[in-house]
């Protein structure tokens, strides 16, 4: 095990989200709805040196495995991420994220005049397009600033 990986301790059971773009770890936690109140042990490494990314973030969440929908949304802000499922200190599953066709209920539309921002009983829905996401209602396209509109 390299020195870099030892910056945050190994976990017994749970998920390690590796190769997250530097600076996005807190957004990853936001997507997962983790604010510390759930009782899971959470370790975060930020701007750790990485051969592949230069700098990367690592998030380790104990006693929790990610659902596919959570992984889908993660892919929007961390397209290079690897998801490692750990059981009894061993990595039993290692997956790259893949971009979904659409995401529901996790992003708010930046267009203030969009009907999704009009106090309607409605869940946001975004199609995933080439280099961003697109609101199904008003067609607004969101690219670099996706993380700023995470609404979880």
């Amino acid at each position: 095990m390299s020195e870099h990986e030892l910056r945050v301790s190994k976990i017994r059971d749970g998920t390690v989200i590796d190769h997250v773009e530097g600076g996005q770890a807190l957004n990853v936690l936001a997507i997962l709805g983790i604010d510390g109140s759930e009782g899971h042990g959470v370790s975060v490494g930020m701007n750790v040196p990485s051969d592949r990314l230069g700098r990367k973030d690592i998030v380790k969440v104990e006693d929790r495995e990610l659902s596919q929908s959570e992984v889908d949304v993660l892919s929007l802000i961390a397209p290079e991420a690897t998801i490692n499922i750990v059981r009894d200190f061993e990595v039993v599953e290692k997956n790259r994220v893949t971009r979904p066709d659409s995401v529901s209920g996790v992003l708010s539309c930046p267009n203030r005049n969009c009907i999704t921002n009009a106090d309607e009983p409605i869940e946001t829905q975004f199609d995933v397009v080439a280099d961003g996401v697109r609101c199904d209602y008003c067609a607004t396209i969101l690219r670099a600033d996706i993380a700023a509109h995470i609404d979880v």
Partner: protein, 316 residues
């Protein structure tokens, strides 16, 4: 056309457009053949913001098909002012009408309505989003003058917030058309419209001045530059003046150039253009009635087919 709603022009195929326009031509040639075609049916005119032309032309179209129309009256005195959601409003109105036309200030409102109700919904303008029934009458006007292929069409004015522009640009991608967009830098097409045009491989060019491209055009579609979009009134007057046309502007234009405008105009087309052979904007507005008759007829026919199909399924 096999759809129950008309929400955006991006949903329209070439076949869809030609189906409605062929029917519109037939309606215009013999309106009496369509009288009472939908007698006993009711169209709800749900206008959450003021409208004169669109509301009245739908009202006229429905009545010429034999339908009755119902409206919400003044928004300020309707249940909307009590805080009722659009979702609830359209679900209630669904029980009163066989189809509804929706004008709403928020983008995506018609999409939401289409998800909530089973009767046909026509988007009659959603904020700065789309206005697809206007596009059908625009295309009808263009087709009657030039056909819809091998054309160069200039679209000038407020391209950023102009919903008629967004719908027209999308619909034109179904045809062999070069689109020229003329606007100030600050009012260029929004990202989402560019995205759709790019995806379809549309032939588009953008300009800040009309003059260099005018002699290439078959159609010049002018829209109002909206004063309320400018924080600085002086900036509005500077920009608006540069996108105003008059008879002199058109002196060197092709003889068969068609000048269109969704109306209302303010001062972007001088009155002296009305007297030229180019002016087509009043005919364009009048075309709203046969085109909307054809559209309502098509959507109600589709809805009827769907109901019949469900009954057949249930009978098995």
């Amino acid at each position: 056309m096999r759809q129950d709603h008309l929400i955006t022009a991006t949903q329209l195929s070439r076949d869809d457009i030609e189906t409605v326009l062929d029917r519109a031509r037939a309606v215009a040639e013999d309106p009496t053949a369509y009288a009472d075609r939908h007698a006993g049916r009711v169209l709800a005119l749900c206008f959450f913001e003021p409208s004169t032309r669109t509301r009245m032309s739908f009202d006229s179209a429905a009545k010429r098909l034999g339908m009755d129309t119902i409206g919400m009256g003044d928004v300020d005195s309707s249940s909307v002012s009590k805080g009722e959601s659009l979702s609830d409003t359209v679900r209630v109105i669904e029980g009163y009408a066989d189809a509804m036309v929706l004008r709403h200030p928020s983008e995506g409102a018609a999409t939401l309505a289409g998800e909530r109700v089973d009767v046909p919904v026509v988007n009659a303008g959603d904020g700065a989003g789309q206005h697809p029934s206007q596009t059908l009458l625009d295309l009808h006007t263009i087709r009657e003058d030039h056909g819809l292929d091998d054309l160069s069409i200039g679209i000038m004015g407020d391209l950023k917030y102009g919903r008629t522009v967004h719908s027209l640009a999308a619909a034109l991608t179904n045809f062999d058309v070069n689109q020229h967009f003329v606007s100030p830098e600050s009012l260029r097409l929004p990202r989402s419209v560019r995205f759709d045009l790019h995806e379809t491989g549309a032939q588009i060019r953008e300009h800040e001045e009309l003059e260099p491209v005018l002699d290439e055009l078959d159609v010049l579609y002018v829209t109002r530059i909206q004063k309320e979009r400018f924080p600085d009134e002086n900036e509005y007057h500077r920009v608006a003046g540069e996108y105003r046309i008059d008879a002199d502007t058109l002196a060197d234009a092709p003889d068969d150039l068609t000048v269109m405008h969704p109306l209302p105009r303010v001062d972007e087309i001088a009155p002296d253009v009305d007297e030229t052979d180019h002016a087509r904007y009043f005919e364009q507005a009048h075309n709203g009635v046969p085109v909307r008759m054809a559209l309502l007829d098509t959507l109600l026919e589709n809805a009827g087919s769907a109901e019949n199909a469900e009954e057949t399924e249930a009978d098995r």
